[in-house]
């Protein structure tokens, strides 16, 4: 009964969405308002009903039966709604309609032409996804025979970070749909109306970018503590699928600044906005269709893959043809000097796009080769590290100095004067770090220098209180500095120890001694576990911390997991994983000393805060026009 209402709400949202296609352009404001609100309420309704079905464990519904279990904690019953393909589509639609609502909120007399066209494109996209959900992935499908209990839920996914990871990413992906819609609408306007389309597009890009950043970071954090490999980024196809839109969103939000200030690069920005969302959809296609086997593949279903493929082809074909036809209206003849703010942003844009193209190439290359030659090849982490890192290095170098530069041309002597303090500061800070870690590594030294290059430049801007800088930019750039520091130190100076240890004995790593106190069986809410107790001492024999890694067994899904135990401070993480073993021979242990890892997470949060500051600032700007 309840499920039928949910299904009805989903169909209602389809009807509203189709209606919006027709009325958004010529309809009365009141009618559009009813439809936009109706679309939001009906998609919210169907989403809440699915959530309710998961909470009450209604096993007459296939989706609940396949993905839930009565023993599952409440938090994971809720996050289980989007932990599977069908439910996640419902969330995707909900976020689409929320952005649709906010686009409508911008509507006024002066921009009615732009907004109504944007609403039309947005409702076309929404319709596409609702049709997809109803006909290939309906979460309200009933079971033929009601079951006593569900099949459970992958215990690896039962985690607070993974509970919020998908919604954050979806805000990012779907936020880019708004940029896409604005771009198509703007192209259709032929540059005849004097509407500041970029000012409307920017807050959406900022939201998408900030949430993509934090969403990706939380996914990485989860991989770091859950997968037990001590690493946090694996160039998995699905990680690439989120990284590519992020790169283009980064390029987009920087070039939007140029459009705002100089009215240049309009055509380029419109193209970026199209590509960023198209890549989000292609990423979904690659991951959901199962043609790229990845840890995130929910189900292998060719009909879904074909639908998304056709949908993407239509979306991409239409928008890119439109761009080809209309972009000339937005061309300009402005050229940028190398030593200027716009020059540095141009370099940033080019390099981000090149990285994105390279990641795309590496991700789809095995498919292409297999299709044409029947040979199977792999493109993995070593390829991406070898290609992406070198392109990123000059981007970071330019990123440090860009905010210091003025618009138009700068005298080289003035640039030198401006960067002198940060060059000195960078030198001092890098020397300190490199001397702490002693072991000389070229890439490590380079990474540390670049990180401090960014941090120093931002500190200098802050101290000198140079006018015209944006607080959001400053904070975000500082965050990137922290992030690079953490990435570099944790990957270059990681120490690792693999050993077998009996209880009541010790092992050493870095300047710590780790004592294996005992090992016990423990019973959790839906698992049983072996839990090791370790006491960590420093050189002065003082207790630093106690670590308790676990080996868990989840009987419902018959899955074993390892729970790493981590002690973090601002200098390093101590990371310990319990392996197999027994009382007489001891247990296998993997212990990592990971320097400065925490700065990766701090960096991501700081970037997000910077993004949020910018969002609010840009919303203020919107009120003024």
């Amino acid at each position: 009964m309840v499920a039928s209402i949910g299904n009805l709400a989903l169909w209602l949202s389809l009807i509203f969405s189709i209606l919006q296609i027709y009325v958004s352009k010529k309809g009365k404001l009141k009618v559009i308002s009813v439809i936009v609100n109706g679309l939001l309420i009906s998609s919210l309704g169907s989403f809440i009903i699915l959530m309710y079905l998961h909470i009450v464990s209604d096993f007459s519904i296939l989706n609940v039966f396949e993905n839930s279990h009565t023993t599952k904690p409440l938090l994971y019953k809720i996050s289980g709604v989007w932990g599977n393909h069908e439910g996640s589509m419902l969330l995707w639609i909900l976020v689409l309609t929320i952005f649709n609502y906010f686009i409508f909120k911008l509507y006024n007399k002066n921009n009615s032409l732009l907004i109504s066209k944007t609403l039309k494109v947005q409702s076309l996209i929404t319709t596409g996804f609702i049709v997809f959900t109803i006909f290939t992935s309906n979460p309200f499908k009933k079971m033929i025979v009601e079951q006593e209990n569900g099949l459970g839920f992958n215990p690896i996914l039962q985690d607070p970070a993974l509970a919020i990871h998908p919604p954050l990413l979806y805000i990012g992906y779907v936020g880019l749909s708004a940029a896409f819609s604005f771009s198509v609408a703007t192209l259709n306007l032929n540059n005849k109306e004097n509407i500041a389309w970029y000012t409307y597009m920017k807050p959406f890009v900022l939201v998408a970018w900030a949430f993509l950043t934090i969403g990706i970071a939380i996914g990485a954090l989860w991989a770091y503590y859950e997968l037990g490999w001590g690493g946090w980024w694996f160039w998995d196809p699905v990680e690439n699928a989120s990284f590519m839109p992020w790169l283009l969103a980064t390029a987009l939000l920087h070039s939007l600044i140029i459009v705002e200030k100089r009215k240049s690069l309009q055509a380029w920005v419109l193209l970026l906005a199209l590509l960023a969302f198209l890549l989000s959809v292609i990423g979904t296609f690659l991951v959901r269709s199962g043609i790229l086997t990845s840890v995130h593949t929910f189900a292998l279903d060719p009909s879904r893959g074909i639908y998304i493929l056709i949908f993407t082809a239509i979306l991409g074909g239409y928008s890119l043809l439109l761009f080809g036809k209309k972009s000339k209206n937005y061309f300009d003849k402005n050229y940028f000097n190398f030593f200027s703010k716009e020059g540095s942003i141009l370099i940033n844009n080019i390099l981000m796009t090149i990285v994105c193209a390279t990641v795309f190439l590496g991700t789809v290359y095995p498919l292409i080769i297999e299709a044409f030659t029947n040979n199977k090849i792999s493109v993995g982490e070593p390829y991406f590290n070898a290609t992406v890192v070198p392109i990123m290095l000059p981007a970071i170098l330019v990123m440090g100095v860009g905010p210091l530069l003025a618009w138009n041309r700068n005298k080289k002597s003035e640039i030198l004067k401006k960067i002198l303090p940060s060059v000195l500061l960078t030198g001092i800070m890098s020397l300190i770090i490199v001397s702490i870690y002693k072991s000389f590594s070229l890439i490590g030294t380079l990474g540390v220098i670049l990180a401090f290059w960014i941090i120093s430049n931002n500190i200098v801007i802050l101290i000198k209180k140079r006018k015209n800088f944006s607080t959001g930019m400053l904070v975000s750039h500082l965050g990137v500095g922290f992030l690079i520091l953490g990435i570099t130190a944790s990957s270059v100076w990681q120490e690792e120890k693999i050993t077998k240890l009996k209880t009541n004995s010790s092992t050493e790593i870095n300047r710590y001694s780790i004592f294996f106190k005992d090992i016990n069986e423990v019973v959790g809410s839906n698992y049983v576990a072996l839990k090791g107790n370790f006491v960590v001492y420093d050189k002065e024999k003082k207790i630093v911390t106690e670590l308790t890694p676990e080996n868990r067994y989840y009987p419902v899904t018959n899955i074993y997991t390892t729970e790493a135990s981590i002690h973090s401070n601002i200098f390093r993480d101590l990371y310990i994983v319990l392996g197999t073993g027994n009382k007489s021979e001891g247990w296998v242990l993997k212990i990592y000393h990971n320097p400065l890892v925490i700065w990766i997470w701090i960096g991501a949060i700081v970037i997000f805060i910077g993004g949020t500051i910018s969002i609010f600032k840009n919303l203020e700007k919107l009120k003024k026009i």
């Binding site: 050229y335 080019i350 090149i354 199977k376 993995g380 390829y383 890439i443």
Partner: protein, 139 residues
């Protein structure tokens, strides 16, 4: 103008430099204590090879990270080959003969992968071209 060219050639040099030094140390291992060789050089070589070898029964993992039995067999095989005195190239060759190019996470440069390795470089040259063009026109 001359100075600009200088600056650009420096950037190109940095990029080239970084192509040479891109062996970022890897992050994770699933090697077990009984596999580890006493000879540190041998062990390091085994590690580096393992990181480039795909675990063929896993999803996007190297044999160095994987807990799968097949991965363990391959790790031991690589170590035995090293102890026999084979060099890295011979070991890679042995593995690709047996399992095909699919097993290499860092694909060799050959007819199939030429585009894969060459294209990013073309992107970069093209990008640098745009920047130089802009700079010239702006003067």
């Amino acid at each position: 103008m001359n100075r600009t060219n200088n600056f650009i050639s420096k950037i190109i040099f940095i990029i080239f430099l970084s192509f040479v030094i891109t062996q970022i140390p890897d992050i994770s291992y699933s090697v077990e204590p009984d596999e580890i060789l006493n000879n540190q050089n041998y062990e390091l070589r085994a590690r580096n090879i393992s990181k480039n070898i795909r675990c063929v029964v896993c999803q996007n993992q190297s044999i160095d990270e994987s807990n799968a039995p097949l991965a363990k067999d391959l790790r031991i095989l690589i170590r035995n080959k090293i102890k026999e005195g084979r060099n890295d190239e011979e070991i890679y060759e042995f593995l690709t003969d047996r399992y095909g190019d699919f097993i290499l996470l860092k694909p060799d440069i050959n007819l199939n992968t030429f585009v894969l390795w060459f294209l990013p470089f073309c992107f970069l040259i093209f990008g640098i071209g745009i920047v130089i063009y802009h700079n010239k026109k702006s003067q």
